[in-house]
């Protein structure tokens, strides 16, 4: 690994949380406008994170509790390494799409471990809901991944991106898969109607209820990275990874990167608009929802791809 790679990795590890926080700040502003409010300034999330990290007191329940948020952030950052970001690919090998699937679960488990160790029943129920929700959307999502892998005949995310640059974007080639993946993305983002794990009126923000100060700051960073990683995964799978200009020139690279940011924000924006006008399902209803229509559509999409690719 060369020194440029290390610099790129560190640079991305700093840039992605900052970008995620910016998205969260804009999200608060947009939601406020929908709700007839003025809303906080778009840089409010930076202020919040800085404030949380400058808090002095930390109440710890056990070392698992301490390590949970770190686990989550590191898990998400590791996932980020495997995801092409507008032409920037930090790590890549054949089959990284399957690794990404596992790594994304790992960061969720970090929160589950930490919140479980706090001993608060609200956290426990929140974690239980988070795991059920994960199980619900993973099934259709894995089926969709299978259809995309089959269609492009590769398990490497980088190759899927480069093949989309040659052929059409997958959203045009596989529209049904893209729709189902977007429904799953709503659950991955944890936006309504699928925000059961952190439902304030039901479980008092669930896993985060015992976390405060620096821990909460870590969780906010985790959420910020997760938005970028999950949105980026969708963009890479279905929107060509944001590669629209010739990546061999510096100007093309920079423009591609901006397009990638725009596309990730677009996906987040769609989720946000749904979030603003939807109540949340009960967790059993969310489970039933995901295992019904999205799964059926995902199977249809998979069969479609099998038929198309066998010709």
């Amino acid at each position: 690994m060369s020194i440029t790679d290390i610099v790129a990795i560190i640079g991305m590890a700093v840039f992605v949380p900052l970008l995620g926080l910016l998205f969260m700040g804009i999200a608060r502003k947009i939601t406020a406008r929908i709700q007839n409010r003025i809303g906080p300034p778009f840089y409010q999330q930076y202020i919040d994170v800085m404030k949380l990290f400058s808090k002095r007191s930390n109440i710890s329940h056990s070392w698992v509790f301490d390590i949970g948020p770190i686990f989550a952030v590191v898990g998400m950052l590791t996932t980020m390494l495997f995801i092409p970001m507008g032409g920037f690919q930090l790590l890549s090998f054949d089959g990284d799409l399957i690794v990404i699937m596992y790594l994304m679960v790992i960061s969720g488990l970090g929160i589950a471990l930490g919140a479980g160790a706090s001993g608060n029943p609200n956290s426990g129920i929140g974690v239980m809901r988070a795991l059920v929700l994960m199980m619900s959307y993973e099934l259709p999502f894995v089926l969709i991944l299978l259809s995309v892998m089959l269609y492009y005949n590769t398990t490497s995310l980088a190759e899927i991106v480069s093949k989309q640059a040659d052929m059409a974007w997958a959203v045009l080639a596989l529209p049904l898969s893209a729709i189902v993946a977007d429904i799953c993305l709503q659950g991955q983002f944890g936006e309504k109607p699928f925000d059961q794990p952190i439902a304030p009126a039901e479980v008092a923000t669930g896993p985060m209820v015992e976390y405060g100060g620096k821990y909460l700051g870590m969780l906010m960073l985790w959420h910020a990275i997760a938005i970028i990683v999950e949105g980026s995964l969708f963009v890479n799978l279905f929107l060509g990874g944001g590669i629209v200009f010739d990546p061999s020139t510096y100007v093309g690279m920079a423009l591609n990167f901006l397009v990638w940011i725009g596309l990730v924000f677009l996906m987040f924006f769609i989720a946000l608009l749904i979030n603003a006008v939807m109540p949340r399902y009960r967790i059993d209803q969310a489970f039933a929802f995901y295992w019904k229509w999205p799964t059926i559509l995902a199977i249809i999409a998979l069969i479609y791809v099998m038929v198309v690719s066998s010709w």
């Binding site: 109607p193 925000d195 439902a199 939807m278 399902y281 009960r282």
Partner: protein, 370 residues
């Protein structure tokens, strides 16, 4: 059989899923509530005893605090009881202004209610919109009474003064606006599929149960039981107004919310009837109140009830001929809805519906504790 492990969850007093200074301790088995215990008393201020130490005329300033989102009904309930005791007849215009205030208060309380229930299931936009629209009603209250939340306006004998010039037009304009907004609320909220899916069939209440547990107001009407103090024991200008009792059938969360939505529309209609009448009436004569310094109520006892936004809100007043009430007893709707009914109905619900049920019953904790 293995022993199932239950956990205790504390909803409140510091919890986003509680209606105020109130607490519920639910025992949960898996995701289902097996036992619930409500813990009221955080807001006990001893209104009934405090009233005994005050003059008759000081009453409205105190009891409007019994129910924060809907204070005018408290004032009017007390005023009606005292008027019945003293045999005071309020002038016609005074009665109409009173009804106007009560219906406006009902509208503002229902806007809160919509937001409260929607917030408990995660649709925060409704809450923000509702509170924003409620502010326009408060603006009108400010213009009429000088105060936004606690108006201290409906005294025994009638409202304190007449409406300012042009007030009726402003009210009508606001009603047009609210009617337009209600259509948007319909799109966002009442026809929202997720809301319907969650609310339909959740915590149904039968008519027989409602009658047994003294459930009143919209909660009772949502079960199909047509009771309404405005019809059964008319006060203010309601005998002259044209309206029917709206009822639903199912008595579940959905019926309770839709019941309020229908009554919201009805209130708008009532307010239009009132403003139409107010315009035709001669101005000025709204109140008959004797000199407050010589204010004496003959000995006796009387009960005055009003149909508040939460249910029957009654005041039982006993006078011994002195300068203040000898004894005053308030009959609030929330003590039945929030304590007895809630404790029984929440058993068997999912954890997700503990808050939703409380908001759908429209429990007002200050009214429980008093």
């Amino acid at each position: 059989m293995s022993q199932t492990k239950t956990i205790d969850l504390f909803f409140g007093p510091q919890h986003p899923g509680i209606t105020g200074n109130f607490s519920v301790r639910v025992t949960v088995d898996g995701d289902t509530v097996v036992k619930a215990q409500v813990i009221p008393g955080f807001l006990h201020r001893g209104f009934e005893k405090l009233m005994e130490m005050r003059h008759w005329i000081q009453g409205p300033a105190l009891i409007c605090r019994i129910c924060v989102p809907d204070p005018d009904h408290s004032e009017t309930g007390y005023a009606t009881a005292v008027e019945r005791l003293a045999g005071i007849e309020v002038p016609e215009r005074g009665r109409y202004i009173r009804s106007l205030m009560l219906e406006m208060s009902r509208l503002s309380a229902y806007l809160f209610y919509f937001g409260g229930y929607a917030g408990s299931i995660g649709l925060y936009t409704v809450g923000q919109w509702g509170v924003g629209d409620r502010d326009y009603i408060l603006d009108l209250f400010e213009e009429l009474t000088g105060a936004r939340v606690y108006h201290i306006f409906n005294f025994p004998g009638g409202p304190r003064w007449d409406t300012p010039p042009g007030f009726e037009d402003k009210v009508d304009k606001l009603m047009d606006f609210l009617e337009k907004r209600l259509k948007e609320f319909d799109k966002l909220y009442f026809n929202n599929r997720v809301f319907i899916k969650r609310a339909r069939g959740t915590a149904p209440m039968t008519k027989a149960y409602a009658q047994k547990m003294e459930v009143t107001g919209p909660n009772a009407r949502a079960t199909g039981w047509a009771i309404d103090v405005r019809k059964d024991d008319p006060y203010a200008a309601y005998p002259d107004l044209d309206f029917d009792i709206i009822t639903q059938k199912e008595g579940d969360n959905y019926a309770r919310v839709i019941q309020r939505r229908m009554e919201f529309e009805q209130s708008i209609d009532l307010i239009r009837q009132i403003t139409r009448k107010l315009r035709k009436m001669p101005r000025g004569n709204v109140r008959v109140t004797p000199n407050p310094l010589h204010w004496k109520i003959p000995p006796g006892e009387a009960y005055g009830a009003v149909e508040s936004s939460k249910g029957e809100l009654g005041y039982y007043v006993v006078s011994d001929g002195g300068i203040g009430p000898y004894r005053m007893q308030a009959r609030g709707p929330s003590i039945s809805h929030g304590v007895q009914v809630y404790e029984e109905m929440v058993v068997g619900q999912r954890v997700a519906d503990v808050a939703a049920l409380m908001f759908s019953l429209d429990v007002c904790p200050p009214d429980i504790d008093r």
